[in-house]
Amino acid sequence: MCLAIPGQVVEIFSGHQTTALIDVVGVRRKVDLGLLQDDMPKPGDWVLIHVGFAMSKISEEDALDQMRILRALGEAEAAMQEVQGYGMDDVTTPNQHEIEPADKA
């Protein structure tokens, strides 16, 4: 629940609720951007997601660090489960090899 999950904005859907398609290591999900309305991200930007809502904009480097932290804490699987659990639509199934991100190092 308190996991901060890093993801990259793929596409933004504007409506009365601004949502975005976010890519988290290959899994694409709709995420609410309402809490970033003062500083809207653009496609290509990285964000930290808490319980289905993008909460802060971060750099790509910090996004990769955060993913590594989740893996080290044994929380990466829970994080991916959480992301896959968001919503009941907009599912894209990644290829299995894309789930485990390549280490930056």
């Binding site: 629940m1 308190c2 901060a4 009365h16 609720q17 609410d32 309402g34 809490l35 970033l36 309305q37 003062d38 930290l48 808490h50 319980v51 289905g52 809502f53 909460m55 802060s56 971060i58 750099s59 910090d62 660090d65 590594r68 932290i69 080290a72 804490l73 044994g74 929380e75 829970a78 489960q81 959480e82 992301v83 659990g85 968001y86 919503g87 009941m88 190092a105």
Partner: protein, 376 residues
């Protein structure tokens, strides 16, 4: 060192650990509280205690939302869900937390409609796709999750979703820190401030800790190096006799926080006069309730809530561990009746709970070391 070796810049970690040794006055004993349960988890996982001199003691703080929730609130939430056509929706972390009559998961086994959701907005969608049912979202968390619940309620109102409500257990971190500092049996020298709560509230709300209590605070990231650097920051301040708020996690935490998130919270929530915390008792203005303009979506206003108060199982010493008075292994039930597989207390449930962290890393260490040795 094997735990930190897998991280970037192991040589910087070694240097930072050396600096900590240099800064720590051998004649002093330092008690530094890491407020956030995520930090507690990271400290155990990376074996950071082993890098610190023995006169630096890390005290685990109250920043695990599942752990601080008193059992009576769980009973109240489950009581509402006993009513016909009510779906109980909560985060996965809540599912194994014991209530008097068992956890939500055990209630599910007995026939209650209990669903795991990953986002409050998923609970709202669940309501929209089940118009003949009522979905009650059991909301927990500090300021990290409260804005998401708030925005979900704004959406529910805007979309006129009438079969949805929130049983609000959101708490705020500052009054808990105040209660700990006011506690006569607690002496602390400095704080490692929570990282992700601070992305919402910013750094300003901690200023009184420096100004009034003269204790240094470093808001910290979650990597081993982040936590060690934060310890360096507070030790430097203590050495100079200073007390201020430093932001070690600048790359993510803006000084002013996230204003849009704070606005969403202000729109939907107001402070409760008081709220009960496990271990810390009743703390005034420490939790959020739903304002009257969202009364229709407030489970406590919509349903009869008994407001039960139950004490934890007598033998379990969750309260003392939560306050930092006892270490997890000093509890009588630790690793005996109470394990992550069969938790008696909430601190053994969540990965952010200090008992679960201690059990998974310290308690299993001996077994782990011998298995590594046999591989090598």
């Amino acid at each position: 060192m094997k735990f930190v070796d897998e991280f970037r810049e192991p040589e910087v970690i070694t240097k930072t650990a050396e600096e900590i040794r240099r800064l720590a006055d051998p004649k002093r004993h330092y008690r530094i509280m890491e407020v956030c349960g995520g930090h507690t988890h990271a400290i155990y996982r990376f074996g950071l205690k082993d890098l610190l001199p023995s006169n630096i003691e890390l005290i685990h703080g109250p920043g695990c939302p599942v752990c601080v929730l008193p059992m009576g609130r769980i009973d109240d939430g489950l009581e509402i869900a006993q009513q016909p056509d009510v779906i109980f929706a909560a985060f996965g972390d809540m599912m194994r937390v014991p209530g008097t009559q068992g956890s939500p998961l055990e209630h599910k086994a007995r026939g209650m409609d209990v669903r795991i959701v990953y986002s409050p907005s998923d609970a709202l969608k669940l309501a929209q796709s089940n118009p003949e049912k009522h979905v009650m979202f059991f909301a927990i968390g500090f300021e990290t999750t409260a804005p998401s619940t708030a925005l979900t309620l704004v959406r529910a109102k805007a979309d006129s979703v009438h079969n949805f409500s929130v049983f609000c257990n959101h708490v705020t971190i500052i009054p808990a820190i105040r209660a700990i500092l006011d506690s006569p049996d607690m002496r602390l020298d400095a704080f490692i401030g929570p990282g992700h709560v601070s992305t919402v509230i910013g750094c300003r709300p901690y200023e009184w800790i420096a100004v009034n209590e003269k204790k240094p605070v470093a808001v910290s990231g979650f990597e081993p190096l982040d936590i060690l650097q934060s310890i360096v920051m507070v030790l430097r301040q203590l050495r100079k006799g200073e007390a201020k708020i430093e932001n070690q996690y600048k790359r993510v935490v803006p000084w002013e926080g996230n204003r849009a998130a704070l606005r969403a919270m202000a729109e939907v929530f107001e402070l409760r006069p008081y709220f009960e915390w496990r271990g810390l008792g009743f703390i005034s203005q420490s939790a959020l309730r739903i304002t009257d303009s969202y009364a229709e979506w407030d489970a406590e206003q919509r349903f009869q809530v008994a407001g039960v108060r139950v004490t934890d199982p007598k033998a379990a010493q969750c309260g003392e561990v939560l306050k930092g008075v006892l270490k997890p292994h000093q509890c009588k039930l630790f690793a005996k009746e109470c394990t992550p597989e069969h938790p008696v207390g909430a601190l053994m449930v969540s990965s952010e709970g200090s008992c679960a962290a201690y059990f998974n890393y310290e308690h299993r260490k001996t077994a782990m070391v011998s298995s590594i040795a046999s591989v090598v």
